[in-house]
Structures are given as C-alpha cells and as structure tokens.
Symmetry: C3
Subunit: 349 residues, 3 copies
C-alpha cells in the first residue's frame, strides 16, 4: 500500500488513548498508543525489536514500557532504557520506531513520515470539535474497504439522495450549483440550493419546518483522509450565520489495503444541551454510516476485489469531479514524495 508519509494521520479520538497501553492496526503497522504521566500521547510500533513480542502485552514502567516476554525496557522515544539480561549492556539497535504524536482538537494525531519534519501546525483544523458554541456527537468504526473508497463516498455527496433517502434527501440537489475549489492541497466541494424544502434531518429543529430555506452543503478534503463537512439551512435570503448548521468530522486512516479506520462526528450549533438532539444525531450516525454507507462501501470493495479503481475504467459523471480530483491530487502527492530527495522511512509496509 503506497501511502502519503509526510503528513498527520488521526490515530484515535483523544478520549480513547489513556495511560494504559493500547494497540490498533494503522498504516499497515501495529501501533502502540498510550499517554505519559504529563498526558502527552505516545505512538510507536507495537513490536519489541528483540523477539518481536507485542509491546502492548507488557506494562508501563514510568513513562516507558517493559516488554512482557523477556523484560527489555524502552523509553517513550522508543530507545531501549534497560536490558535485564547478562551484563545489562544495551545493544546498539535496540530501538522501537516511534512516531511524533500530538493531541489536537480532541484527536490524537501521528506523523507517518520523517520525524524531523513533523510540524504540528500542519495538523488540519478541526477546532470546531472543541468549540463551546457547538455540541459534538461522534464515534468510530472500521470499514472493510480501501480508505480512498471511503473518501470517494464523502467527496461525492450526491449519494445522500439515494443511499440516505429520505432522511437526508434534498430536493433539487443533483442540479444544484456545484463548485469544486482547490486550496493548496485541500479541495472543497460546495453545493447550494436556494429556496428549497428543508431536508428531514433539519425539520424537527426549525420553527416552521415548511418554510422555504436556503440550503448548503460543503465538504472540504485535506489529504490524505480528513474531511470536514458543513451543512446548513437558513430562511430564504438570510445570512448563513443565522442558520442551523452542522459541522461533520469524517477522518479516515488506512488500516490495511482493504480496511479503514473511520472517525466521525457531528457538531451542531443548535439545542446544545438537548439530549434528544444528541440522540437524534447518534441514531442518524448509526443508520447512515453503519447501516447505509458501510454495507455500500464494503460492497464496492467486494465488487472491486484487489483491483485499483482506474484500472477498472469507471464511468465518470459530473458528480465525480471532487472525488476524482482528490484521488489525482493524492496520487500526485504520493508520487512527488517518492521522487523527492527527502528520505521516507521504510519501516511502514
């Protein structure tokens, strides 16, 4: 699996990484995750360089870890700090590959490339997740599909009118104004429908559900797998800041060639303290993501097998513009990285 290396990937929701050792497969590698006593996240390959035991089967010792098989200790940088055997000398190669890790906006991010190039300011902006003016409900799931198929799903939101109908159906949506705008390595797809019926997912929260609204749906992709979706309705002609708005967080991280970690959330600017609105969101995420998107995306993966998308010569439509452009941008970035003189770590398969 060719991956973009010099970039941040979301490893987990911050709340799911604690002092205890945990492990998850990410980027084709077993990833050990935990926090130091000062709360800083630690990420390293979950494999002892001695006899390749999973370090997650060992235990915490200070801010480091002790392998549970033969007792080698490593500090949180991955360097061996104690060899309990023989003369106790630490062999030169006794080191676990670690990854720069950062907590940001409720997520733990890891840098998959050259550590010296890890720059936390490059982490995409998901600050809405921790905004006091929004209420966020989210969770995670695994999709048994290549991560680009999940991105395709997100970057072509015309599917809401089919796969997610009637709950997310938007009248006149497929003929709506649609702009695809590139912004550096980010890409944004923007659709607006003026003077339409409010979609079902907003109606319970509108004073007059039957009054016509202006509707918008923007999705912003940040390579390789971070999407931020903004959708809103506002009474016709009013400024968007007066509207009901939801910011969707959709972040995919490759697990393997046909397996993807998918972190998702929805942050709303209305009824912040209403548990019924929380429930409504959780119900929709269960239905929309788990019962509708997941079987469809995994069905596509099954139908593609191990073949690559373009090798199958897909019939492309107007609605594919953003998704295809994102794929091509990403492929160009991966190629550029491979050609660059920046050495890219080879440990990741």
């Amino acid at each position: 699996m060719k991956l973009l290396r010099n970039t941040w990937y979301a490893a987990a929701w911050s709340r799911d990484v604690g002092a205890d050792l945990s492990t998850r497969e990410l980027l084709g590698e077993p990833m050990l995750l935990y926090r130091k006593h000062d709360g800083a996240p630690v990420a390293m390959i979950d494999r002892c360089p001695h006899r390749f035991a999973p370090l997650s089967m060992g235990k915490r010792v200070g801010d480091g870890i002790e392998c549970g098989y033969h007792g080698l200790q490593f500090d949180c940088s991955g360097a061996c700090s104690k060899n309990p055997h023989g003369d106790g000398r630490i062999p030169p190669g006794a080191r676990v590959r670690s990854f720069p890790a950062e907590d940001r906006h409720g997520l733990v991010w890891i840098w998959a490339g050259e550590p010296s190039r890890a720059d936390a300011s490059l982490i995409p902006d998901f600050s809405h997740l921790v905004s006091p003016r929004l209420k966020t409900v989210g969770d995670e799931m695994t999709q048994k599909a290549h991560y680009e198929l999940v991105v395709d799903n997100l970057m072509d939101l015309s599917h809401v009118n089919y796969l997610h109908a009637p709950y997310q159906h938007v009248d006149d949506f497929l003929q709506a104004k649609h702009d695809v705008v590139q912004d550096g390595s980010a890409l944004e797809s923007r659709r607006t429908v003026a003077g339409t019926r409010a979609p079902q997912s907003f109606r319970p929260f509108l004073d007059d559900p039957d009054a016509p609204v202006d509707y918008w749906l923007n999705i912003r992709w940040h390579a390789p797998g971070c999407c931020l979706l903004e959708t809103g309705v506002v009474p016709v002609g009013r400024p968007r800041e007066h509207g009901l708005v939801r910011i969707g967080t959709h972040i995919v991280t490759p697990i393997g060639a046909a397996s993807t970690q998918y972190l998702y959330a929805s942050s709303r600017n209305y009824r912040l303290d209403d548990p019924d609105a929380d429930d409504e969101t959780a119900r929709w995420q269960q239905m929309g993501f788990h019962e509708q998107d997941k079987p469809m995306i995994e069905g596509v993966q099954t139908r593609m097998g191990e073949r690559e998308l373009f090798s199958m010569r897909p019939v492309l439509l107007a609605t594919d513009a953003a998704a295809i452009r994102a794929r091509r941008l990403l492929a160009a970035m991966i190629d550029a990285e491979a050609r660059s003189d920046q050495p890219v770590p080879v440990a990741i398969a």
Copy 2:
C-alpha cells in the same frame, strides 16, 4: 479459472428468481438475477459501471434497475437509461454486461459466451422436471469444491456401494455390464444388473420387495456440468417402461475455483401424490447429498488443495472411465474455444 464460455449454465431454479433483485456468485462473477414484468428472467453483472456498487443494493424501476449509490438507471439489457447528474447525458461506456437468460424446464439458464451465439435450443433437455407423469422433489446446495470434482462424483456412480451404502447399495453392481457412450458433446455411462435384489431405496415401493429385478443406472453428462441420471427396477425380464423409475437432475455451475452451485432433484414415476414418498426423497437427498457426498467431495478438495487432478497423477481404475472421459472432453472443448477465432468475452475472470 478456465471455463467453457459458449454454453448454457443453470443459474437457479426458476422458482427462486422473482421480481425482486437477487444476487449470487456464478462463473466467478457476482450475478444479478430478477424477472421483468412479463416474467422473463434477466441476468447481468451485479456491479454498476460507475463506482462499482452492487446493483442488487438498488431497486427495480420498471423493467430496469436503479443503482442505490448514486442513482444511475439501467434497462434490462444493461444499457444505462438515465443519468440523474449534471446535464443528464449518458456516458458512452455506461453499460452493465448482461447475459442471455432463459426459463426452461423449471430452471433459469444463462449463456456465458458471445451473446449473439446464444441459442435456446442448445439448452440440455431437462423436460422431465416439468412432466405431469413424474413427481419432482429437489433443492440446491453449495459444495466447497471445484465443479469437476462434483461431476466426477456423479460420473462414477460406483461410489453408491460405499458412500451411500446401505441405502443405495446394489448387489453385483461393481461387476455389472458398464458401457460408456459418447453422443456429440454428451457422454453416457450405462450400467445394468439383471436379476438382482432391489436396492433399499426402491423396496418400500415394490409390491414384492424380495422378488428379483432387473436394475439399471444410466447417467448422461452434458458439458460442462449437467447430469441426468436414470435409475430403475423392473421385475426380471419385463420392459423398463413397466418399472419404477427415478430421473435424477444434477446440475453444477461453477461459483469459483473451489466452490460450486449444485442444483439437484429426483423425479419419480410412482406414487405421484404420496407425500410420504416426497418425504422419503427429501430425506435421502439430505442424507446422501448433504451428509455423505458433500463431506467427501469437500474432503477431496481439501486433500487436493489448489492442485489440478492430473498433476497429482491419480491411480485410475476401470470405474473412472466415464468421469475421466468427461474431463478430457471438457478440456478439449475449452481448448478449442480458446483457439477459435470466435472472440470470447473477457469480462469474466
């Protein structure tokens, strides 16, 4: 998997294909099956040419279908009939590969080769399945084995004296007169035992179960996987048309390299309206096919792994004559097809 292409394969029992979209893996492909409003069967690849979604996750629209992911519509020939996106123009390649399909004798048949060569008169004759003078009981199963291993099982019926004893055991069967006769691309194996004890499977239906009978067992193979088995007993010296006769239907269709769809039925010329005789047949099919043949054939597949039969240099016996000849005939037909200037579709893996 090399398959004979310009031939009819049984896709399903007719009763199992209805107006609703259904899907089954056949010939290494996901096959979408349904019926038009006029009842005619439709078969096409269950994969949208746009983003490769399973069409079976969509819905019927008239005699065609609508993809459940992004809403492309296809008519029952597989041609795209509606693009709901952008300007609605239908892209040139927007077409699903469909297969000529025919209802015949209670089965839905599909033509795996060049569509223009599909000739319904080439469908092998299983008209006994719908004969009012016979009562038919049958079902289907999946064998986790290469389809030729299932054909081998059928074409060497000496196994009834071991695997299916005592219920189907026939005295003097292994030394019985045995002829193997080729008839075009069909092959028939005929065994007769004169003046023997009626096998247990016939005894409950004979006036005098202990009276000696003439017994016969013929099996006719039609490439690549259709077998018709006739077995009967008649009082010694009487013409066969006075006997108790059962016509067995055994039709295998490759699913994948080690997976086979097996449609089976037994049609009897006695006690047509006797539910006890129906039950007797269903019990035997459960025992004989599911509990005896299936574990044995799948055991053979396990013992062979991915190896091809002849590469393992099997020790061949007199009783293998028909099965081996069928294998060689089929191999020659597949080779001839590959060499012919008739272009064979390549979409099937």
Copy 3:
C-alpha cells in the same frame, strides 16, 4: 516449509491413538493414525491415491483400511490390497505413503525421512514419562505459530521471570550462572541459583518454604523439536537427588508454516498420589501454557507475519544464546540433509 526429514517426530500421545481411524495435520500433511490389532501404531498419508479422498472417512478392514469413496483397500504398509472394480487388478502405483511409527514412552513417534533409515534407538529419551517414581500430568495444544517460535520460548527460559511471574519467578535468575552445552545434535541450557528463595511453584510442597534453597533449571533440546526441562530445589548445599524435582516434557511437531502441535507434561518426584498436586500442575499448565505462553507466542507470530526471524534482524541478548544456537544447529542439519546424497522423500510438501 523446509523440515528435517531423517528424524522422529512425536505424532500424538499414545493414549490418543486407538483402533479407530483418526487424522491430524502434521509436517504439512494430513496424517492418518490408528493401531493394528496387535497394538502397533500405523501412520500414513490420509489421502487415497485413487481420487484423493481422506482415508479417515473410510473404515478399518482387518489391519488395513477401505476407502469410503470407491472402496479401494490398503494394508497397513500403505500397499493396495484390493481393487473391487472391473477385473480387480491392482494398479502399480496404488500405494499410500506410510511412515515408520513407534510407541515409545507414552508417545507415538513417526519417522519423516527415508524409511530404511528409521532406527528406533534414535528416538529421544523421554522414559521419565513412564517412570514409576514420577507422577506425570500432561495434555496437548495447538499453537498458531511456527514451531521454532515455540522452541525459542522453551530455550530462553528467562521469560519465566516476566511472562510467568509471579508463579514461576526466580530471584536472581537473570544473573544466574548460565551454561549452554552442545552434546552431538542436542543442546542443553543450564542455570543454577545457589541459596535463593524457593519459587512459588515449589513452596506448597516444601517442609519449610522460607528456608533458602539451591535452585536449578536445565533445558535440553533435541533437534528438531523435543525439549526436556528439569527444574528443582534442594536445601542449600544438599545433593540434587534429595530435592523436589519436576521433569517437563515439551515436544513440538510442525503442523504447517504457522501452526504447531505442542505436547506437554510435567513429571514430579513428590506427592505421587496426591490429586491436589495433580490439580496444581494442571492449573499451572492451563495458566502458563494456554493463557500466558500461547497468546505471547501467537502474538510474536502475528507481529512477524510471514517473515523469517533473521531477516527481521532481531536484537540479540545474552539470554538468546541457547535458542539462537538451536536455530543455527537445526538450519545446518536441514542444509546438510538437503546436500547429502541420501535421497529424501519428496512427497511431503
């Protein structure tokens, strides 16, 4: 999988091989095991040379077997003894590969190499298993790991201080005197700790559990996978024959590339008739082997995937001496065998 061929492998505990046909995967082959009427064990490939049916689905006929598919019979040497078909002539190649098999010390051993070289005196000495002066408790399990990873676990017993702590923890163990001694193709690792605290596993059986003891732990490896572990405690300065001693039997036989049959037992020289001591042993084996070793060894296999140990450049420590030497010895033996002019049977994959 390259295996040492001209050697004995343990196929099963003798008590688990009876008159009935049984089958287990060993050495990459399905192995049919049963006993003749005189009790002698029989081992042959569980695959009929006719149509490759599992012979274990057939039945015993005298000291031989009858294939359950088409009725070929084989004697206990694997030679075809009856062909019920046609003229009954036995085809020249109708032979099942059989293996010299011996009952010895409560185990059934099979010779994987050239049959004429099978010499029962080469079976490693596990006579303690049947000694009247010891009480033995044991069982078997499957490890989803390459057999050398299980040998590594046994040949580096420093892991008891981590993986099996506190029950098997030994004070001062990692700095204990440690000798690795080669004896022909056997290798022994010996550790002694003078004047230490008795480990928890011995304390319930000592008159004064708190009195200091001399402790020893020797493990002897006999290529390719037979280990004999002796551990004991004795009051300081007394001869070992006055001590509490346990002889561990740890015999691994490859099933496949990442699957190993592991036969284990513990034979103690104390409280021979005490069922509580039996229970104590069985509890420890369950905890130590099934709940501690197995997940760790299988975790290592998972982290290694299909890679070979040395190709991953493990960081080696003083404690690895015996295990690495055993690996190198075995590799040299396999290489020597491959280079020898002794023909090695090729039937085993």
